[in-house]
């Protein structure tokens, strides 16, 4: 929700000196509105105008960072309510509760389990973001030891869960260099918590019961000079959490209500881990910036991370794979060759099924600008000549000694032309990837 060029122009000195680069103040204002210039290049802008323009151009939801190095987590900085309007930018962070009441061995095991939550699917890597050490013991020394133990056994960014400033201070002694997320500043402790978080440059969760109390508390914390904040409206019912998440996002984006212009955090409440994940899916859908879970099982976490990745995909840019000859298994000169497109979804559907045939095979993914078979064909991006050219380019003739190309059933019409253009024999395969296993069985067994 940036300002328009004209709104910016009103604040400029209107000298048309050209010292900033563009010849006139209006041209400079237009460049600013498009994000193509920096206000600081204008030597004559007044401090007042500078302050006005900076606050007006601040993003509706602040970008908040936790963690360090490769494990840095970015949250917030969202501009949309619906992904189809543009896109969602910073994927929901996923974290896991670890109680400081566990013994050393259990803490180590849990930390390693969380460290191990890295998944590979469809050519992407899914990771988790936080390990939330909870001060269940209510004892500062125990908390400090537990935080140290966990931090030593996982590179995942810590989140320190205690409303006792003394306990947090101790934990920060051993974990501050990892830029942990601090949970939480409340009406009772916010002064000390803010001082601690600000002092160590750590993001701070602000927690209050209900939106009204939360907005008030955020303003108090901001007044103390800390702006790396995360919001918790203290709800425990799924339906009310959804309501608050929607309100905070709407008020920040549509009304520029500053107290809610920060990322949000929610905790799951279901005990059954499967119900917990099903609930968490709801929160990913409805704007949660951080979700803290209890379950750490791979089978539970993978579906949640898959939905997160799907939702945050840019609707305007289909995910693509490289145009190349992919090898599935230990291929040799007799291996079958399948033709598909470079749309990630299409390619990985085919790849998964080809893998299931247990027959080492080649898959040729032709660049169709990331469109599926039918779309590509309809758009003229899947022509026989082009496919034949790619076949030549990847050196298919030298890879296999047979001359049989399996094409998707939906483009059976390409058979004649492709045979002519490539000199290969074309076999029409199934329409859907799901038919590949049966097809391969009948063709190659």
């Amino acid at each position: 929700m940036g300002l328009t060029g004209l709104e910016i122009y009103k604040q400029l000195p209107k000298k048309n000196c050209g010292e900033c680069g563009p010849p006139t103040c209006l041209a400079f204002a237009m460049a600013l509105a498009n994000g193509k210039a920096q206000l600081s290049t204008c030597p004559y802008v007044s401090d007042e105008a500078k302050a006005n323009l900076e606050s007006a151009s601040a993003p509706p939801i602040a970008l908040v960072k936790a963690g360090d190095g490769d494990n840095q987590v970015e949250m917030g900085d969202e501009t949309e309510l619906f992904r189809h309007d543009k896109k969602f930018y910073h994927e929901t962070s996923v974290g896991f509760k670890v109680s400081d009441s566990l013994n050393e061995e259990e803490l180590e095991a849990k930390a390693k389990e969380i460290e191990d939550l890295v998944f590979e699917r469809v050519g992407l890597q899914y990771k988790v973001q936080f390990v939330a050490v909870v001060n269940d013991s209510q004892d500062a020394e125990t908390f400090k030891k537990a935080v140290a133990k966990v931090a030593a056994n996982t590179s995942v960014t810590p989140m320190l869960v205690s409303e006792d400033p003394a306990a947090l201070e101790g934990a920060l002694d051993v974990a501050a260099d990892k830029k942990p997320l601090i949970y939480a500043a409340t009406a009772d402790n916010y002064e000390k918590m803010t001082e601690l978080a600000k002092g160590k440059g750590c993001p701070l969760v602000v927690k209050a019961e209900g939106l009204e109390a939360l907005a008030e508390l955020v303003e108090k914390v901001v007044a103390l000079g800390h702006k790396q904040l995360v919001l918790d409206s203290g709800q425990t019912e799924a339906s009310k959490i959804v309501g608050d998440l929607v309100q905070m996002r709407r008020q920040a984006i549509k009304k520029k209500f500053r107290p809610f212009g920060y990322p949000s955090i929610v905790f799951t409440t279901e005990e059954d881990p499967l119900a917990e994940i099903t609930q968490a899916i709801t929160y990913v859908s409805k704007y949660a910036s951080i979700i803290i879970l209890n379950t750490t099982k791979k089978a539970h976490v993978l579906p949640l991370l898959a939905w997160r990745q799907n939702l945050y995909t840019d609707p305007q840019v289909p995910i693509q794979v490289e145009q190349k000859l992919h090898e599935v298994g230990e291929v040799n000169e007799d291996s079958p060759v399948y033709l598909t497109t470079n749309f990630s979804l299409t390619y990985y559907s085919v790849q998964g099924e080809v893998e299931s045939t247990k027959i080492p095979s080649y898959i040729l993914s032709v660049d169709t600008d990331g469109t599926s078979v039918l779309t590509a064909y309809a758009a003229g991006k899947y022509e026989a000549e082009k496919i034949a050219e790619v076949m030549k380019k990847v050196g298919l003739d030298d890879k296999v000694k047979h001359r049989n190309m399996i094409i998707p059933g939906y483009v059976a019409v390409l058979k004649g032309k492709l045979e002519e253009a490539s000199g290969w024999n074309v076999i029409v395969g199934p329409r859907e990837a799901s038919g590949i296993v049966a097809f391969a069985k009948s063709q190659f067994s």
Partner: protein, 323 residues
């Protein structure tokens, strides 16, 4: 600064469709449902009435289905008896409705006759008291025979029958009109075709409140986000008064979720993905839970645990969140 709750103004609401008919209404159902009617985005109780909860129908087939063992084991002994299978879904697994998929009609498969298909639907109608959703084998010519026969034989039951598509909607629309059933209008992940098909069907004089939209969802990990955005856009359109996008939406969750490799690959083969059955259950319940937030009203599902998870999810979300 005081917090001002932001409520979006809406001009209209999602349409209402009734499924099933009681004896008094000319059918034989013990239970019927009214679907749709939301006057806000999904579960935004704070700005509009969410009149009816979404429902879950469990899938029953007329031949032994090609499902993973982790799903089939919950229907052991009844997979060749559609009536008992349906009864188990309703009595033990809490299905709101039964989805009868007449896969056995497929010409390349069991190639069952329309009469045999009618018998299966009748068997299920006799075994359970909930409304039925019936689809064919998705081969146009055969479905036009089978589904028309089912519509005629079940006159008055107020079934939901699919799938009508842009190139093949006339005979099913006519059958639904004559025999008083509801129709599933399927479009291929395209909001313009979705709208166009609804216009074509209503132009044949099938009432607006007899149409359910099937936007052709993808399962989790396989294009679900396309359906999610189309459904969100359709809901926003409906709330702004676009009647031809306002029909309740059906999601073929079971079919799409269990197609994914992640739903059924064994742990031996993919140790990094964890235990197989729970992963599969969550693949299905997560697909449904995500699409609930985009505005799905009818969910066609398979695994009993996934069904109970999503019913719990719906129950939690139906609680009032007004300020």
């Amino acid at each position: 600064m005081a917090v001002n709750i932001v409520k979006e103004k809406t001009l209209s609401q999602v349409g209402l469709v009734k499924l099933g008919a009681t004896k008094e209404e000319g059918g034989t159902r013990a239970v019927t449902y009214t679907i749709g009617g939301d006057a806000a985005l999904p579960f935004h109780h704070f700005e509009g009435k969410i009149a009816n909860r979404p429902i879950v129908a469990m899938e029953v087939q007329d031949i032994e289905p090609n499902w993973p063992g982790t799903v089939k084991k919950h229907f052991e002994g009844v997979l060749d008896k559609p009536g008992e299978w349906a009864k188990k879904c309703v009595d033990e697994y809490g299905a709101d409705a039964i989805y009868v998929r007449l896969e056995g009609a497929h010409p390349d498969g069991a190639d069952k006759s329309p009469e045999d298909c009618v018998a299966v639907v009748k068997e299920v109608l006799g075994a359970v008291g909930v409304p039925l959703i019936v689809t064919g084998c998705e081969i146009e010519e055969k479905d036009n025979e089978v589904l028309v026969a089912v519509a005629e034989a079940c006159t008055g039951e107020n079934l939901l029958i699919g799938f009508a598509e842009q190139e093949n909607y006339k005979s099913l629309t006519a059958a639904c009109m004559v025999h008083k059933h509801n129709i599933i209008a399927r479009s291929p992940l395209d909001i313009n075709i979705c709208k166009q098909l609804n216009i074509l069907i209503t132009e044949m004089n099938l009432a607006h409140d007899r149409i359910i939209i099937d936007p052709s969802i993808g399962g989790l990990g396989y294009g679900i986000e396309y359906a999610y955005s189309i459904m969100e856009r359709a809901r926003l359109g409906a709330l702004q008064g676009d009647k031809m996008l306002s029909m309740p939406i059906l999601c073929t969750v079971g079919k799409e979720a269990w197609r994914a490799k992640e739903a059924s690959a064994s742990e031996e083969e993919y140790p990094a993905w964890g235990e197989e059955e729970e992963r599969g259950i969550l693949w299905e319940s997560s697909t449904a839970s995500a699409l609930l937030q985009a505005g799905g009203s009818i969910f066609l599902m398979r695994h009993p645990k996934a069904v109970s998870l999503i019913k719990n999810n719906i129950e939690q979300l139906m609680k009032d969140n007004s300020y």
